[in-house]
Symmetry: none
Subunit: 161 residues, 2 copies
Amino acid sequence: MKNKAARLQSIREIIIHSRVKSQDEILQKLHEQGFDLTQATLSRDLKQLRIAKVPGSDGSYVYIMPEIGSVGKLMQEKMSENPQRQIPGGFISINFSGNLAVIKTRPGYAGSLAYDIDSNTPPEILGTIAGDDTVLVILQENINHQQAMLALSPFMPELHN
Amino acid sequence: MKNKAARLQSIREIIIHSRVKSQDEILQKLHEQGFDLTQATLSRDLKQLRIAKVPGSDGSYVYIMPEIGSVGKLMQEKMSENPQRQIPGGFISINFSGNLAVIKTRPGYAGSLAYDIDSNTPPEILGTIAGDDTVLVILQENINHQQAMLALSPFMPELHN
DNA sequence: GTCATGTTTGAATAATTATGCGGCAAATAT
DNA sequence: ATATTTGCCGCATAATTATTCAAACATGAC
């Protein structure tokens, strides 16, 4: 068809501007705009545009463009391409005190470690603050050290040896 | 069941560490780890964890963790309703744990927000520490979250909608 | 023109994912 | 203790999404 590019553009706009929760909804909007296509084609278009359906906080699902706020996602994909290759994180030690964890790293590594933790935000972790060689991790209330350790261990590959 | 929390944690780790492309694959890994569940339960778990399946660069699909924190997620969704509307102060989310509050901001905004809070020094607030996109607020002892929220809300106009 | 090659598509269907319903057990209330 | 609520889960199935296959069309070489 001669208007595939225009269609893809329209799909992008629909995704960005409205909150659609199924391909059929998108399809309907496209039909309203005069595009004539089936769900099969739409599925392929979405794949090409790398548009994803994610569970939303209201208990249903939403289609989103991964580029919006996506740095973490891309990173994660890169990482999972080579799951065995671990990025040496300069990790040295971790200790707990109350609702805090203190991670020591080699000088200069704290920021990147904190960034990795923040980008994945396990629900047990409220946030992090990094200096040069220390990351302070603030834990959710009622999270015990065991649980926190589980949540944090993915970011400290050195622990898995 | 007593092991749901552990299961969710395992799911998160599987998502982060390996490249899975269907629920059945995740299910298989979980079974290998000794968890006994069906696809139905896994689907519900993924929904709760807000894990999404996105089209990957290699032409297939990958499950990923969306990166933003709890309250932040709501904000982000709100924003996608009105994509043009900007966040004035860079505020994204606030959460409490014990005598701490963790405020997430857009990158670069943490410092100015912390400065605003510090320079007004409400008595409920002992002090703040800012990274790039996170402000750690240390609360007075015996201040509850409600009170702290009241003391902090003047600095987060976005909450007053 | 014919032929080969590649792209795009719909119909049908396969594959995958979400959910209504009922059961069960733990927690909470009476 | 008994009743009620609440959360979790499997089964079966609905709903949704991806893909196979064949066909239509375009493009460019010859």
